[in-house]
C-alpha cells in the first residue's frame, strides 16, 4: 500500500507516475458580506493557498455560489454538496447560515510519458474518490475549528469579520497541513470512537478513579479516560467526544510518543523529574512542573451546553498508556497550585491503573491464543454509541493511515456504505470483486459491519457461513439480518 505522494509505475518501468488526490484549495466565504459588484472580495473570509491572485479567488468563489444557486432550482431544500469535474472535485458545506466551507481536491492522476519520450500526458482518474469520504473530511475540518474556537457566529459577535478572519487564518493555516487526503477512507465517514475492551472489574476501578478525582478537585466539570488511544470513559456529549477523540488520537498523542519508549538520549525523554513514584505528566499545559518558568496555560475547547456552548480548559494528563482528560470551566484561572495538586493526586493512581489495565490486557490476549492471520478482516460501526472497530487499519496516526487491504477494496466498502445510507432499513450486500475477494456488508438496527474475506474459491453459501461464524464470535449479542 502506497503511503503518500508519488511513486513510479512498476508495470511499465519508469514510464508512469501516479499522483494521489491532493488539496488544491480550501476556502470559506459568506455571500452576504459583499453583495454589490466590485465588493466580491469581502465575501472571502479565508482562502488557501493564500498567494492565489485576488481575481482568481473571486472567480472560484463565484463558481461555488453559482453552483449552489443553480442546484436550488431543482432542490430548494437540499444544498449542493459536491461538484465533479474532469480535473478535480469540490466539496461544499454550509455549517452555519450563509457560511460556506469549500474544499477542492485534485483527482488522482497518472502521468504517462508519450511515445516521443519527451512530453507527458496526464490521465485523471475521476472515479477514484468517494464523495462521502471527502464530504466527511470537510465536516471534520469545521468541527475541529469549532472545538477550539466556537462557532463562526461567536467570533462575529465578539469581534466582527476581522476577528473571524484572524481566527480562521490562525487555525486553518496549521490544520490544513495535517490533512492527509490520500489516506482518508470509510473510517472518516463514520468518525467513530474506538473503545477499549475491558473486564467489569477493571472498568469499575476506572469509574471509581474518575469519581474520586472529580470529588477531590471539584473544579473539574468533565472527565474522559483513554487507554492505548482507545476510549474507556467519557462524561462529554457524544458529538463533542467524537471530535475531541479525533484530536487526541490523530494530533496530540502522536506528538507525545511514550517517553518510556524513546531512547535514553532521545530529546523526547523528559528530564527525570525526581518523582519516581509515578509516570504521570501533562500533555497540555506545563511540560515540567519543577520548572520555575513553567506556564500554566491550557488549550481552550468549546463543547455543547444547555445554552449553546461552554468554553473549557483542556487538561490532558498521561501515565504510560493511560490518558485522562480533565475539563474545567474557562472562567477559572488555573495556576501552579492546582496543577501540582492534580499531579500528586492523579499521577500515582493513574500509573497504577495503567499497569492494571496492561496486565489485564495481556492476560486476555494469552487466553485468546496466539495471533493467527485470520481469513477475514472487518470494520464495525455502531451509529448509536459511535463505537468503531477495525481490523483493517493497523495504525492511525497524524500522518498516515495504514490499511492492510488494497485501496480498491476499501472503496468497495465505501460504495456499499453509500448504498446502506440511502434507506433506513436493514440490508445485506455480498459482492465478489474482480480480484476474487469477497466483501460482505451488513446493516442492522444502526449497526454496520463490513467483512473482507480472503477465501477466493468460496461460494456464496460458504461466505455466508464464514460471516455467521464471525458474528457469533466477535459480536455474539448483536442481531444481524440473515
Amino acid at each position: 500500500y502506497r503511503l503518500a505522494g508519488t511513486y513510479p509505475g512498476m508495470a511499465s518501468g519508469m514510464q508512469e507516475k501516479q499522483y494521489t488526490p491532493s488539496l488544491l484549495s480550501f476556502f470559506i466565504y459568506n455571500p452576504t458580506f459583499g453583495p454589490r459588484e466590485g465588493e466580491e472580495e469581502k465575501k472571502i473570509l479565508f482562502y488557501h493557498p493564500s498567494d492565489v491572485e485576488k481575481n482568481e479567488k473571486i472567480r472560484n468563489v463565484g463558481l461555488c455560489e453559482a453552483i449552489v444557486q443553480f442546484t436550488r432550482t431543482f432542490c430548494p431544500t437540499k444544498p449542493a454538496k459536491s461538484l465533479h469535474t474532469q480535473k478535480n472535485r469540490q466539496f461544499f458545506f454550509e455549517p452555519e447560515n450563509n457560511f460556506w466551507v469549500v474544499m477542492v481536491v485534485r483527482n488522482p492522476m497518472i502521468e504517462k510519458l508519450n511515445k516521443d519520450g519527451k512530453t507527458q500526458t496526464i490521465e485523471y482518474q475521476e472515479e477514484e474518490m468517494l464523495d462521502t469520504v471527502y464530504g466527511a473530511v470537510v465536516r471534520q475540518c469545521y468541527s475541529m475549528y469549532k472545538l477550539f474556537n466556537g462557532t463562526f457566529a461567536r467570533a462575529m459577535e465578539a469581534g466582527g469579520v476581522e476577528l473571524l478572519m484572524q481566527k480562521l487564518e490562525k487555525f486553518f493555516y496549521k490544520y490544513l497541513q495535517t490533512l492527509h487526503l490520500q489516506s482518508s477512507d470509510l473510517l472518516d465517514v463514520f468518525g467513530g470512537i474506538s473503545f477499549f475492551p475491558l473486564d467489569k472489574m477493571t472498568y469499575l476501578k476506572i469509574q471509581s478513579f474518575v469519581n474520586r478525582v472529580e470529588e477531590s478537585l471539584s473544579l473539574i466539570k468533565y472527565t474522559a479516560f483513554l487507554y492505548n488511544d482507545q476510549l474507556i470513559w467519557s462524561g462529554l456529549e457524544q458529538d463533542d467526544m467524537r471530535i475531541l477523540y479525533k484530536y487526541l488520537t490523530t494530533s496530540l498523542f502522536p506528538r507525545h510518543t511514550e517517553p518510556e519508549l524513546a531512547g535514553r538520549d532521545s530529546p523526547l525523554r523528559p528530564e527525570v523529574t525526581g518523582n519516581l513514584l509515578h509516570y504521570g505528566r501533562f500533555l497540555t499545559g506545563p511540560l515540567n512542573l519543577k520548572d520555575p518558568e513553567a506556564k500554566f496555560r491550557f488549550p481552550k475547547i468549546f463543547v455543547s451546553a444547555e445554552d449553546g456552548y461552554e468554553e473549557l480548559h483542556l487538561i490532558v494528563y498521561k501515565a504510560m498508556s493511560a490518558a485522562a482528560c480533565f475539563m474545567i470551566s474557562a472562567s477559572v484561572e488555573l495556576n501552579r497550585d492546582f496543577c501540582e495538586q492534580l499531579d500528586s493526586l492523579v499521577g500515582p493512581q493513574l500509573t497504577l491503573l495503567a499497569s492494571d489495565i496492561c496486565e489485564q490486557f495481556t492476560v486476555n490476549r494469552r487466553i485468546s491464543g496466539p495471533e493467527k492471520e485470520p481469513q477475514f478482516k472487518f470494520i464495525y460501526f455502531n451509529h448509536m454509541n459511535l463505537a468503531e472497530k477495525s481490523t483493517i487499519h493497523m495504525r492511525k496516526t497524524a500522518s498516515v493511515c495504514l490499511t492492510s487491504v488494497h485501496p480498491d477494496l476499501m472503496k468497495i466498502l465505501g460504495d456499499i456504505n453509500c448504498d446502506f445510507a440511502r434507506v433506513d432499513e436493514d440490508e445485506e450486500i455480498i459482492v465478489k470483486a474482480m480480484t476474487d475477494y469477497w466483501v460482505v456488508g451488513k446493516k442492522s438496527d444502526q449497526r454496520e459491519l463490513y467483512v473482507i474475506l480472503n477465501q477466493k474459491n468460496a461460494n456464496l453459501i460458504e461466505v455466508n457461513e464464514e460471516v455467521k461464524r464471525l458474528c457469533a464470535t466477535q459480536f455474539n449479542n448483536i442481531f444481524f439480518l440473515d
Binding site: 432550482t73 469535474t85 474532469q86 480535473k87 472515479e127 440490508e427 445485506e428 465478489k432 456464496l460
Partner: protein, 520 residues
C-alpha cells in the same frame, strides 16, 4: 447432468482460456463452470448481427471513422435547400405521428412549482449558445434563463481547461454532457449512477443526431451559432419523450441488448430466409419486429447494426401510428453506423391489424419503390409457407411468465447473452404490475448493473437482501444475469436457482434467441 456440488459453485465460476467453440454439439446442458463467450445460452452460431457491443464502452468510442471508410452511406453534404426538403419530408411522417404523443406533454407546467421540481428525471438539451432545444417537462421558453445558467456553468469550467461532469446534492444530481454542438443536462432524483445517467443522455444525443445527422448539426451551428434548433425539430419531441420513457422501462436499453419474439427455431429460420431472399442492391438491413421484440434481422455481409441504432429505429416505429396507415419512407441517420449521412427506411406493417412491422433500410433516397417491391416479394414468399401461420400464432403470446421456469421464489430475471447481444426476460409478475413498481424494479436492476459495471471497480457478483426482495447479479465472460427473489428466499436457494435457470434457458434457447442470423 453435472453433480450438484459442481452446480453450487456458481459464484466461483472460473473463466478458462479454452478456445471458443461454437458448435452446437459442444453446448453443455449446464453452461457453468468454465463457460466462455460464445457458448453461453443464447449465443449465436455464426456471427452476430450487432456491431460487437460490449456494454456501453462503445457508446463513447468513436466508431464513426470506421463506418465512413466502409463508405456505404451517401454523404450528406446537403445545402440549405436540400436540408429544407429533407425536413419537409420528415415532418410529413411526424405529422402522422402526433396522435400518439405519450403521456400528455406537460408543457404548461410552471417551473417554480413543486410539481415541476419533483419529476424524477429532467432532461434538457441546449445549444452551445445556451439556446433551449428540448426539455422533458415545462416549456423551453420558460426555461431559457435556466438553460442559460447551465451553459454558463459549462463554459466557466471549460475556461479553466477543465470539464464539468456533475453536481451532487442529497437525493438529487445534475449531470452534464457536452457533445458539440449540443449540451445535454440531466437532473435526476433516482439512485442511478453518474455513468448510467450519462448513458441516457448519450441516447438522447443520438436520437437528435438520428433526425438530422451530425454533419448537418455542425453545419447549422457553424453558419449561425444562435440558431434555434427547435425550428428543425418541431414535431419530433415526442420521439425524445418516448425514448426517455423507454430508458426508464426497457431492460434492453439498460443491457445494450434486444429481446426476441419467442418463436420456434424452424419458423424463425423460414422467416429469416424469406427475408434474405427479398434483397436489393442498396438494401443494408431488413428488420422484422413484433412490437418491441425482434423476430429476425438480415443484414448485408460485413455491415453490422449497432444496438443503439436498432433501439432508435424501434423507438421511431413504436412512437408513431402513422406507419400503420401505409408504407412509410423516412430518412434516418443511424449514428453508431455513420453520423454523417442518412439511410432511408421503408417502414410498414405486414397486415394492418398486426404487430409485425417490417423495416427495410436502404442507402438510396430514391429507393422507395425498390423497397416496396422487396416487401412484396418477402410477403409473397412468406404467406405461401405454413410458417407464417405459426408466426402469427406466436404473436399471441409474445412473452412468458416466470412460473414457466419452475423456481417458486424467483420473481423476475434478466439474462443477456454477450456474444449475440440478445436478452430474455419474463413478463412482470403480479407484484410489479403498477407503473411505480415496474420502475422501482427497473431501478433495482439499474443499480445492480451500475455496481457490476463500475468504471474502476467492476464486480463479478452482487447479492443483496432487503426487506422487499433479494437480488442477485452475476456477470461472466459469456453472460449477464440479474435475478429478483422473494425476500424470504435463502442464499442456498438463490445459488441453486441460478443453476436451474441457466439450464432452463439452455433448454429454451432455440425459442428465446436468434441462434443463426443471416446475411444477404
Amino acid at each position: 447432468m453435472d453433480g450438484e456440488a459442481q452446480n453450487e459453485s456458481v459464484a466461483c465460476e472460473k473463466a478458462t482460456l479454452a478456445p471458443v467453440d461454437r458448435l452446437r454439439s459442444n453446448r453443455a446442458e449446464s453452461p457453468t463452470p468454465g463457460l466462455v463467450e460464445g457458448t453461453e445460452p443464447g449465443a449465436v452460431q455464426k456471427s452476430a448481427f450487432f456491431a460487437h457491443a460490449q456494454s456501453f464502452e462503445d457508446l463513447t468510442a468513436e466508431a464513426e471513422e470506421k463506418a465512413e471508410q466502409e463508405g456505404v452511406v451517401e454523404d450528406s453534404g446537403q445545402t440549405e435547400d436540400e436540408l429544407q426538403v429533407l425536413v419537409g419530408e420528415r415532418t410529413i411522417t411526424e405529422q402522422h405521428a402526433q396522435d400518439v404523443s405519450p403521456q400528455s406533454r406537460s408543457k404548461e407546467e410552471d417551473m417554480s412549482s413543486e410539481a415541476w421540481r419533483s419529476h424524477r428525471k429532467h432532461v434538457f438539451v441546449l445549444s452551445e449558445a445556451g439556446k433551449p432545444i428540448y426539455t422533458r417537462y415545462g416549456s423551453e421558453e420558460a426555461l431559457s434563463s435556466t438553460m442559460g445558467v447551465m451553459m454558463a456553468l459549462v463554459s466557466f469550467v471549460e475556461s479553466d481547461k477543465n470539464t464539468i461532469r456533475s453536481i451532487h446534492a442529497d437525493g438529487c444530481k445534475v449531470i452534464f454532457l457536452a457533445k458539440s454542438p449540443l449540451v445535454l443536462v440531466g437532473v435526476s432524483q433516482t439512485y442511478q449512477s453518474d455513468k448510467e445517467l450519462l448513458r441516457e443522455l448519450q441516447y438522447i444525443y443520438y436520437q437528435i443526431v438520428s433526425l438530422l445527422t451530425l454533419t448537418q448539426l455542425n453545419h447549422i451551428f457553424q453558419n449561425k451559432q444562435n440558431y434555434d434548433l427547435r425550428r428543425l425539430l418541431a414535431g419530433s419531441e415526442y420521439l425524445t419523450d418516448n425514448l426517455l420513457h423507454r430508458l426508464d422501462r426497457d431492460p434492453g436499453l439498460l443491457l445494450s441488448a434486444v429481446t426476441c419474439l419467442p418463436l420456434s427455431n424452424s419458423v424463425r429460420d423460414v422467416v429469416s430466409s424469406s427475408l434474405q431472399a427479398a434483397k436489393a442492391k442498396n438494401l443494408v438491413f431488413s428488420i422484422l419486429l413484433a412490437g418491441d421484440r425482434l423476430v429476425t434481422l438480415v443484414r448485408k455481409k460485413d455491415q453490422f447494426l449497432h444496438h443503439i441504432d436498432l433501439h432508435l429505429v424501434m423507438n421511431l416505429v413504436g412512437s408513431s401510428s402513422s406507419f400503420r396507415e401505409g408504407e412509410g419512407w423516412t430518412p434516418i441517420c443511424l449514428p453508431k453506423f455513420n453520423t454523417a449521412g442518412f439511410f432511408h427506411a421503408h417502414i410498414s406493417y405486414l397486415e394492418s391489424a398486426s404487430d409485425l412491422c417490417l423495416i427495410l433500410v436502404s442507402t438510396d433516397r430514391e429507393d422507395f419503390f425498390n423497397m416496396s417491391d422487396c416487401k412484396q416479394r418477402f410477403l409473397e414468399r412468406l404467406t405461401k409457407r405454413t410458417a407464417y401461420q405459426a408466426l402469427k400464432e406466436a404473436l399471441k403470446c409474445p412473452s412468458y411468465s416466470v412460473e414457466q421456469v419452475g423456481i417458486p421464489e424467483l420473481r423476475h430475471f434478466l439474462y443477456k447473452s454477450k456474444s449475440s447481444g440478445l436478452y430474455t426476460s419474463p413478463e412482470f409478475p403480479e407484484l410489479y404490475q403498477s407503473d411505480e413498481e415496474q420502475e422501482r424494479l427497473m431501478g433495482l436492476y439499474q443499480d445492480l448493473h451500475s455496481h457490476l459495471h463500475h468504471p474502476v471497480r467492476p464486480l463479478r457478483f452482487f447479492y443483496r437482501c432487503t426487506n422487499k426482495e433479494n437480488l442477485l447479479a452475476w456477470v461472466t465472460n459469456g453472460f449477464q444475469l440479474y435475478l429478483c427473489f422473494s425476500p424470504l428466499g435463502t442464499k442456498a436457494m438463490a445459488v441453486s436457482a441460478v443453476n436451474k435457470l441457466l439450464k432452463w434457458i439452455r433448454k429454451e434457447e432455440d425459442r428465446l434467441f436468434i441462434l443463426s442470423p443471416l446475411t444477404y
